[in-house]
Amino acid sequence: MKKSNDHGKYKYGMVIDIDKCTGCGTCMVACAAENNVAVRADQSDKERTITWMRLYKISNGKEFPHTEVSYFPRPCMHCDHHPPCVSVCVATATKLDFNTGIVSQIYTRCIGCRYCQAACPYGARYFNWWDVFPQDKGMDRYLTPEVSPRMRGVVEKCTFCHQRLMGAKTLAYAEDRQEIEEGEYVTACTEACPAQAITFGDLNNPEHEVSKLIKHPFTFRLLERIGTDPKVYYHSSRDWIRKLGDNFLPGEYTPVVNKTWAEEEWSTKPGRDEF
């Protein structure tokens, strides 16, 4: 099995700037609206509610008034190296598309064994525990025909809004173009973020903003050392946030100090300005 898609043509990925992220949750709502994600009456049941994009609230754990909170928006990481969920799927219902880097999910093939959920350390996969969309309330009227609503008993996940890639491609073909431009294909969360904290693009294309951002010393990924090679990157100038991105043994984490990037000096901050 080919383990990573270095040789694929495109490799879509995302950089989320935690300093810009305001924790407003618009990405989550945009994602749910774009992808016909089910809504149930009780959504405080975080173990079973479906949020392809999910905000995790984090804290520096310091005492008042030195406390800081922040957020990790967590879509599917679209792991590039041997995605943990893909190899375990019994029915080949999830695949890493080597040409785009997108980890897909085929709802009508999924048998609902949930092995992929067990294998994913990011909790990015969601099982449909219920039948949804009561039609008597008329809420099926806002469903988009571009994404099929899921039946109960199958697993679903973030697809990097694959339908948008299809749309962008269709448009490009219609205009007799071979390639789609940067920005023509972005995910719903990228587009919706009111603080422009999310950047989306082709990691294989050095001209794309994402390719530049990932070289930054403040850029990191979640659970990088496990080796899943996620295509979702995070960016923060605050040390405590970067440190929460992975597990570290005492003394293992080294702060980013005075590294140079793009001919500029960058230095790290322990957190917000002390006063």
């Binding site: 173990e47 943990p84 219902a93 999924c110 996969r125 969601y126 525990w129 008993g153």
Partner: protein, 412 residues
């Protein structure tokens, strides 16, 4: 009432007594039937499983009974392939236990998956890289083998034996049993292993992840070994239980002792490897993921005591007891050791399933607790009920203990 169906020359309780005996097990089955109906009709929201506990009680049950059912293939292997004639005295109950365990496990899996109607996609859209596909193929094939092994035992029923065609058929089947035993061994070996592999390959879950040999993580081999180490013990336990209820001796001690001795060696060997496995994991995968051994045993009810119980009380201790001839000849100690051995393996499976999922990997993620619903217990208990029913019926109507007559001559 049913006396014409009973085997020749043995004593069985009255029909009424047997009827009352089956009632609690039928009740369990009814409970399970209701649970199954609810889960299939309303969906898995009837359980307390969640996106965190994607695998839960049922999978623990599955893995546990499949490990315990390993007595069937391993005894078969010893009897037919290795030619241990002594074990012919216990092979039939072993096969029946195996059949119960495997059929029960598959039935549970059918409810556990979200889309039972699509269960066959495992074969139709098989992903050959998935350990679970290997498990499914092997389990299904092996269940067929077990069924084939079970058929001649059924055909030994007094009434059925009167039919000539069936008798000949059963006899012929019996003749070629070695072939099936060998096939079963091969299949079992791989699915016991791939059940372990299922967890070892989850490389992004540091608690379960293991390195290994070629495509097989160490858990592959450890699961095989632990299954064949506890399978015979479970067979012994079931036999002893039957003897207890039947209030008579059914299997000669020599057979039991042989099984216990084999189990002792296997368990000892397993414990040595498992200790190395733990050490390798603690000093390899765990620190490489930025974690410590303790980080997996800090949350909720999951403490280091579980490992102590698994390794020392349910591992090394029974190994020592079974290894010592004097000790294993003592009925009480033998049963205790077998119980501990089986508990240890179940605990091992529990850790691999529950702790793997319960302890979040992302440092900012939180811990959730899980308690099964009555529906989940219902399905699990139904398998227990099914096991008791099938085994008691088999004991009542089939001559599954060849030495029973010899050991218990009827004196009129």
């Amino acid at each position: 009432m049913d006396s014409p169906l009973l085997p020749h020359g043995v004593k069985r309780c009255s029909t009424w007594a047997f009827f009352f005996w089956t009632l609690p097990w039928l009740a369990l089955l009814a409970w399970g039937g209701l649970s199954a109906f609810l889960c299939l009709w309303k969906g898995l929201n009837q359980t307390n499983m969640s996106n965190i506990f994607a695998f839960a009680l049922w999978i623990v049950f599955d893995l546990a009974i499949i490990a315990l059912g390993a007595g069937a293939f391993f005894t078969g292997f010893l009897t037919y392939v290795m030619g241990q004639k002594e074990l012919k005295n216990i092979i039939k109950p072993a096969v029946i236990i195996g059949f119960i365990c495997y059929s029960g496990a598959i039935a549970m899996l059918g409810i556990d998956i979200g889309q039972p109607i699509r269960g066959w996609f495992i074969f139709w859209h098989a992903n050959i890289h998935s350990m679970l596909v290997e498990v499914s193929f092997c389990i299904t094939a092996y269940l067929m083998v077990l069924a084939i092994e079970f058929i001649p035992i059924i055909l030994e029923n007094r009434k059925l034996e009167e039919i000539k065609e069936l008798r000949i058929f059963g006899h012929n089947l019996h003749e070629i049993m070695a072939v099936f035993a060998a096939t079963g061994t091969f299949l079992s070996f791989f699915h016991q292993g791939s059940l372990g592999g299922m967890f070892g390959v989850m490389y992004a879950r540091p608690f379960a992840a293991r390195e290994g040999f070629y495509i097989w993580p160490w858990t592959f081999f450890l699961f095989v070994l632990s299954a064949i180490a506890c399978g015979p013990c479970f067979t012994i336990l079931c036999t002893k239980l039957t003897e207890f209820f039947a209030r008579k001796k059914l299997v000669p001690d020599s057979a039991i002792q042989l099984l216990a001795k084999i189990s002792a060696w296997l368990l000892s060997f397993y414990m040595v490897l498992k200790i190395f496995d733990y050490l390798g994991w603690m000093y390899g995968i765990v620190p490489r993921s930025g974690l410590t051994f303790e980080s997996f045993f800090r949350e909720g009810p999951y403490g280091v005591y579980l490992v102590v119980a698994e390794m020392i009380f349910c591992g090394i201790l029974p190994a020592i007891i079974l290894m010592t001839p004097k000790a294993r000849q003592n009925q009480g100690l033998l049963i205790t050791a077998c119980l501990l051995n089986c508990t240890g393996i179940v605990l091992n499976r529990f850790l691999f399933i529950i702790v793997t999922l319960a302890i979040p990997v992302m440092p900012f993620d939180r811990f959730w607790s899980y308690l099964p619903t009555w529906q989940e217990w219902g399905i699990g208990m139904a398998v227990v009920g099914y096991g008791f029913l099938l085994f008691s019926a088999a004991y009542r109507y089939l001559p599954i203990f060849p030495k029973e007559r010899e050991l218990n001559p009827i004196t009129e």
